[in-house]
Structures are given as structure tokens and as C-alpha cells.
Amino acid sequence: MMHKENYDVVVIGSGPGGLAAAIAAKKNGAEAVLIIDRDIEPGGILLQCIHNGFGMETFKQDLPGPAYAQRFIDEATQVGVDFLLDTMVLEVTRDHHIFATSKQHGFVEINAKTVVLAMGCRERSRAQIRLPGTRPAGVFTAGTAQRWVNVEGFMPGKRFVILGSGDIGMIMARRLTFEGAKVERVLEVMPYLSGLTRNYVQCLMDFDIGLQLKHTVKNIIGKNRVEAIEACAVDDKMQPIAGTEEIIPCDTLLLSVGLIPENELSRQAGVLIDPVTAGPFVDDGFQTNIPGVFSAGNVVHVYDLVDWVTEAGLTAGKSAAQLVRKGVGSDGPTIPVKAADNVRYVVPQTLHPSTLEENDIRLQMRVTRPIEKPVWVEVRSGDKLITRRGEPYARPGEMVTIALKPAQVEEIKAASELRVAIVER
């Protein structure tokens, strides 16, 4: 595949965020748009997500991951997006110069008027949760196991324990069961599920796979290969409770203990990272603090549904194209958006009230603690309520969204900051 030396928009990553950004950039007037991806095919992690559950919001259809990706790959190709695949970006400079390397294409240098960072996220590792024990083969992240099973056709074990109730872990519990493996149980250190309830029902309950909340792995046993894990209950401070230890024989421990936005390139480029989301601080057009550098999808914060990633990509791509056309970003002053009661974070962290003259702005957030009764999602300026929306409950595993409307533009223009809270009704 050929590529040029200069582009209006270069998107790094061809997952759902990157594909949407490239399509939107092209549709909104950017002429030369390139997607760079390290894999030999576009689609990102969706290619190994062969389960369904994708596209209910976007297409009102329940699609497997590769099928969801293919719709956007086809559209990107049709609108004339260039692809540079099998290519790893090494560095993005503050002034949008890109260095990349590839077995197929050699060492590559590209100039971009704007850049959209769409590198997605990575899984937390064993060390980040400081799991004690030996270091044998057989301790894998759920995503690595997913690649082996779904893409390469290998089973990474026969008898599994899964630590963490993240979505990939629960989906892999079902997948491995389909393939004839025994999944002993899923352990979750928190007192609540960290993934989607629908995955708990469809992947664990339907297959009689036990979930133990407030439990963790105390020790990994085995010299060459995992032979067993020692599980235990934890107290409210997440400390092991003596006397609850249990040895579970198994040959594999899968980890589904959280995702972290992948921002090494962003940091190199000078992009400021929010310590709570581990992604860039962004405005409502998903522009970072570096002019002309945008970011979209799980690289900003970890989403629960792919549809929201696509939507974020569309917004970022459109903003990038507008900047290319007009030479400036969204106009006017910005207002900070702050997380208040029971909101762990909210994205975007700043917004341009002028955006509301034409479009809604969606605020998306994660709650700090679960509330299993009806709640209000409230946006306030000082004591003044700007808007609120009811939800039947609020859970950390499920993102919460509220839209700001053009009707609220004058109130928001007058605000010094917006505060978002989730409170019991």
C-alpha cells in the first residue's frame, strides 16, 4: 500500500476509534487521511473479539467484533482513507512529525497537519496488582489468551482460574468452556462486578461458572507451569482474611484486572495526561493540550461499549478536519467540567460552550461506588442545576452518559465551571 509524505490527518490505530476518526475526517473535508496500524489488518482488538454484543447503539444490530469493524473498514476504504499497515509508530513530535517502522515498508517519516491518537488501551499485568508467588508459565492476561484462542487457534491451558470480573475475563470464561476447558471460577477482589451485568449473565451464570466477590489470589504455585493458585477472601480494606485460604488446582491463571489507556506516544508528544483516566485531558472536540493533536476512544478513557468509542472517534475526526479547513479549533473560551459526588471522572475535562450552538455535548463518566437504587445524574453550575437525568442504578462497570443541549448554551456560557454528580433520587 502506498502512502504520501504529507497528510491532513494521520490517525494512529485502526480500532473502532481510529476508523471512525478517519472516516469523519474525510467526510468533513480533510483531503489526505491516513491510518497507521501495527497489525497486518485493520480493526484493532475487535478482530479477536469474535463474540457478539457490538453495535446495538450504532446499528441496532448485535454483531461480532470483526463484523462491526468490517463495516467501518469498508466505509473508510470507500471514502478514500489510506492505510499503512504492519507499521509501528515510534514517535510523534509536538509539531506532528511521525516516525514509524515496518517490515514491509521500511522506516517511514510522515508530516501531518493534524494527528488523531487512537492507540486504545492495554491490560493491567500481574505486577501492577503485585500478585505474590512463583513466576511460571501459565499466567496470562485475558486478552493474550483471547488472541491465542480466537486468532491463532491454540488453547493456553486446560484448567483455568480467572482473577478479575472484567468483561474480557468473563467472555473468555465462556469461550474457554466452549473449547472444552474447565473454568474453575472467577475471583473479584471488589464487592461488586467490574464488567457489564449482561456478561455476568450470559458468560458466567449461563455456564454455571462461579463468581466470588471479595476474593483474590494470595499465591501462585508451580515452578515451570502453574500448578495451583491459593485463593482467599478479603476484608473491606482488601486485605486477606486469615483462615479463608483455599488451594485451587489449575494450570492457568487468567488476569482480567483492568485496562489502562496506552499513552506512551502521547506523552512523548507532550500531551498532558489526566492521572485519574490515565488518558489525555481533552476538550469536547477531543483535542489535547497540543494544538492539532486529538485523541479518540480507549486511549482517552476506558469505555464499556464499542459504540461510544465509535462516536468519540467521529467527533475527534470531525474536529481534526475542521482544524485543517479553518486553521483553528473550536472557537471561544473553555469551561472546566469537574467530577463531584460519586463521580470518579468525567470526559471531556473542558468544553467550548460555542459547540452547543449547533450540537449536543455528551459528558461521559464512571461512578466511584455502586448505588443499587434510582439515581440522578446532575450537572450544576455552582448550586444551579443545569440538567439532570434519571438512571435506575449506577455501577462502576457501566459508563454513565448525560448530554448537554443547545437549549442550555446561555446558562453554560455564564458558568465558571460545571460539576457533575450522581446522587440517590
Partner: protein, 489 residues
């Protein structure tokens, strides 16, 4: 039965350095290693320091070897391509009376080690992250950081290039003797005749010498040390910081490394089993609090790996005085044909080249006619490392061999070209961990989650075996169990 002049038991840093030192001479040499790769025992998990030598009790072999070896590392690094940086080290006093530093300096002086006491302000200037409660430090300028894996691999590769042979997955079983004379050894892969055996068996050096009937009272008690590796993007240390030491150990350090990661550890706990490298929750808590004492700003999120190593702590008495954990470096009287090395714990990595040199001297003293080979080549060039190059050099490397353009480990930026080169090196990397020790692949923030399936595929292709046979660290540590759809009834 194959016959050798010298068989070295054990492919740790001492065995590898000894093989290289002996390969200079007209000797046929075999090194055997029980594991799937060399450098998997004590040499694989340590503080990666070339010690200045201030710490050992004066008059011990530890002090002597450390002092002799320290200046050798510049040449070794240049000849063998071992990453080495003479950074100096600080022994930092925190809230303690400063006479402890003078005591330490007196010992350094007795060991012939240069040192300098610096003020608290100077310490803070040189390492702004140090605990602000510091009251001063002892600076030892000759200490340095070294890549402990390369310290094994590079000299052994050089020995191979100079004619030495290596067998991995080969365990020592017993000696073959004629009377009191050793004439060979039995191994898990057959018998070999030899005139000399070098016992460099590390944690198992006691068992090997007992088989020869030497030092029945000598015992190795493994002493475990646990460590954290920190994320390069969170913290980078240019310095080595020690606390003021205790009776049993040099304490919990915070230091930089040649790999660019900061390291925290080790603690020191006796364990009964020689294969117990499990990391414990208590141990991790212990090194965490130790790290906070030296550098309070280290954050939990910066931890990207944990590991534990075992020190081969012996019980040999020093020639002078009552120190009872000294090295053993000798040709024992009870048998003929044995060079006996035992209890080589810290400062063992530092001392290894001097110990190797001492082995040469002992053989000469025993009447061995050592003649230098005319064609001995002391140079083992380091192989290219993509992430050490600037963009221009990277482009040139990729143009020369496209496999260097294929990124396999995104955190540490290790390419297919580098991995393939290690698989086909004189000392081939045949397992995932062997590649990791040689390239530092899989040690970054994702801890190998991204590269693991890709490395398994490359190993499978290059070794010409099924991915099902690829292991993490030798037989029994296979990554994959079976094909999908291949469901057992």
C-alpha cells in the same frame, strides 16, 4: 566417551567468566548447565551492581576478589559488549548520627576502596529524590551498574567463539574417580572424561563438593531477596543508593540500571528450598517500606515487575578472623582434579572475573602448562539494539534487514531482527525467558502480554517446531496446551 581438559559445572556468571578466562589457553573446555539456558540461578536475580568493595569484611576472599575485580569491568565491557556504567554509589544516612559513615569509610579504606563523605545538601543536590531527612552519605565512585544477563552470556559466547563447548539441560550427577583422582563426570546426558572439574554450581556447589568428598561441613543456605522493577516512564534513576547496612545485608537499595529501569530491593530471608523463588506478600511490603525510606516519592503505580532471587550463602570461614560466610576458591587436597568454588554470593557478580582469573592461577600452581592460543580473540561485539539507535541509524538498520523494522515488543521496542539474531547466536536463545534476558523484551508495562504470542510464533518458525513445544524456560513450561477444537473426550 568425549574427553575434555576442563569441565565447568554451572553456567552462572562465575562459570561463564571462568570458561572465557580458560578459553584463552590451549584447553578443551565443556560447560554444563542443568537448566535450559545459562544464567538462570543466582546470576539471574540480583542488584546488577559492580560493587566498589567497601562492604566486605577486610581480609576475606570477598574483599580481595571484589577489590581485584572492580577495575576489570571497563575492559570486560569494552571487549565483550556488556552494558556497564561506572556511576558510583551512595550509602545514604537517614536520621542517623554521621559517625556510621566514618565507620563505613574506615572499612572502605581497609579494603583499598576510594570513598568520600558528602554532606546532606550535596547528597540532595546529586540526587534530588533522596529522602530530605538525609544527614549525609558515603560516596564510592568506583561502583557501577552492569547488565547481569549479558555478564553471563557475553563471556560464554566469547568462550564458544574461542572453542569452548556448552551443553544446557545437562545436570551433574556424580564424579568418576580413580582412587582420589577425578577422571570424569556422570551427567543426565551421559558421561564425560576430563582432567579437571570446576565446581561453579552456585546454590548446589555444596552438593557437588560433597560428591567429591570435600568439605562435608560446607552448606549452602539460600537467602532470598525480593525486588521491584519500576516503569521507565515514571522514574529514571542515574544513581545507586544504599542505606546504611545492617549485620546481614547491605539493605534495601534504590538504584538505576543499564536497562534504564529503576530497581528496588532486596530484602534478605533464609529459605529452606533451593528452588523457592516465590515472591511473598510480606517480602513485597518489606522492600516497599525500604524504598520509601530512601526515596519517599516512589509511587505504587510505577511498579511494573516483581521478582525474587536466591543468594548462595555458604558457611566457609575466612582465613583470618571469624567471618563465616566467605567465598571458597581452592584446589582441595582431598581429591585431584577439582577446582572448588562455593558460597559465591554478593559480591559474586562483581567478583566473577577475578575468581575466573584465580582459577587460571590455581591451575598454573597445580602444574598445568597453560599456553595462550595464538588465535584467541577477546572481542565479542554486541549485537544491534534498535532502541539504542537514533532515527537515522534505525532507518539504515531496517534498510539492511527488514526484520529490524518489525516491532515485537512495543514497550521496550525490541524487533524481530533482534529476536532472530538471539535465536541463532553462538549461545542460542531457545526459550521466551532466554530472549527476555538477552533483549529485555517483555519487561515493560504490559509485561509481555503483547509480545508473548508473537515471540512464540517466531521461536516456532526459527526452531522449526510446533508452537505447542515452545516454552517459557524449558521443558514443563510450555505456553500452549493444545489446538482449539482438539477437545478431549
Amino acid at each position: 566417551m568425549n574427553s575434555y581438559d576442563v569441565i565447568i559445572i554451572g553456567g552462572g556468571v562465575v562459570g561463564c567468566m571462568t570458561a572465557r578466562a580458560l578459553s584463552r589457553y590451549n584447553l578443551s573446555i565443556l560447560l554444563i548447565e542443568k537448566e535450559s539456558d545459562i544464567g538462570m540461578g543466582a546470576s539471574s536475580a540480583n542488584s546488577a551492581i559492580v560493587h566498589a568493595g567497601h562492604d566486605p569484611v577486610p581480609g576475606t576472599l570477598k574483599a580481595e576478589m571484589n577489590h581485584l575485580a572492580n577495575p576489570m569491568w571497563d575492559t570486560l565491557s569494552a571487549e565483550l559488549g556488556i552494558p556497564f556504567k561506572r556511576s558510583g554509589a551512595y550509602i545514604v544516612a537517614i536520621e542517623e548520627g554521621c559517625d556510621c559513615l566514618e565507620t563505613l569509610q574506615a572499612r572502605a579504606k581497609a579494603n583499598g576502596v576510594p570513598s568520600e563523605i558528602i554532606s546532606a545538601d550535596e547528597m540532595k543536590r546529586r540526587e534530588p529524590r533522596v529522602n530530605p531527612l538525609t544527614t549525609g552519605a558515603l560516596f564510592t565512585p568506583t561502583a557501577g551498574m552492569v547488565d547481569p544477563f549479558a555478564a553471563c552470556i557475553a563471556p560464554l559466547e566469547n568462550a564458544i567463539n574461542n572453542g569452548a563447548q556448552v551443553m544446557t539441560d545437562t545436570a551433574f550427577v556424580d564424579f568418576i574417580k580413580e582412587g582420589s583422582k577425578i577422571i570424569g563426570i556422570k551427567t543426565s546426558r551421559g558421561d564425560f572424561a576430563c582432567r579437571w572439574v570446576v565446581n561453579a554450581a552456585g546454590l548446589y556447589s555444596d552438593e557437588v563438593m560433597h560428591k567429591a568428598g570435600v568439605r562435608p561441613e560446607f552448606k549452602i543456605t539460600p537467602r532470598k531477596g525480593e525486588y521491584y522493577i519500576l516503569d521507565k516512564s515514571e522514574i529514571q534513576m542515574e544513581n545507586i543508593l544504599f542505606p546504611v547496612p545492617s549485620e546481614v545485608s547491605k539493605g534495601i537499595l534504590v538504584l538505576g540500571s543499564t536497562h534504564g529501569n529503576a530497581l528496588v530491593g532486596p530484602n534478605s530471608n533464609m529459605v529452606p528450598e533451593k528452588e523457592n523463588r516465590a515472591v511473598t506478600a510480606d517480602g513485597l511490603a518489606e522492600i516497599w517500606s525500604g524504598s520509601q525510606r530512601l526515596v519517599p516519592s516512589i509511587a505504587p503505580r510505577s511498579i511494573i515487575a516483581v521478582f525474587a532471587g536466591l543468594r548462595a550463602t555458604g558457611n566457609a570461614h575466612a582465613k583470618n578472623g571469624d567471618y563465616s560466610h566467605d567465598f571458597v576458591i581452592e584446589i582441595p587436597k582431598e581429591v585431584q582434579g577439582l577446582v572448588n568454588l562455593g558460597g559465591i554470593e554478593s559480591p559474586g557478580l562483581t567478583s566473577a572475573p577475578a575468581i575466573a582469573q584465580r582459577v587460571v592461577e590455581l591451575l598454573k600452581e597445580a602444574g598445568e602448562k597453560l599456553v595462550e592460543k595464538k588465535d584467541f580473540n577477546p572481542i565479542r561485539p554486541a549485537r544491534p539494539r534498535f532502541n539504542h539507535l537514533n532515527h537515522e541509524e534505525q532507518a539504515a538498520l531496517v534498510a539492511k534487514d527488514a526484520r529490524y523494522g518489525h516491532m515485537i515488543c512495543r514497550c521496550e521496542m525490541i524487533t524481530e531482527g533482534e529476536i532472530v539474531a538471539e535465536i541463532h547466536a553462538p549461545l542460542p536463545a531457545k526459550t521466551y525467558d532466554a530472549i527476555k534476558r538477552r533483549t529485555w523484551l517483555g519487561t515493560g508495562r504490559c509485561l509481555g502480554a503483547f509480545d508473548m504470542p508473537r515471540v512464540v510464533a517466531i521461536l516456532s518458525q526459527e526452531l522449526g517446531v510446533s508452537p505447542l513445544e515452545i516454552t517459557k524456560k524449558g521443558t514443563g513450561s510450555e505456553f500452549l496446551a493444545r489446538l482449539t477444537k482438539d477437545v478431549e473426550a
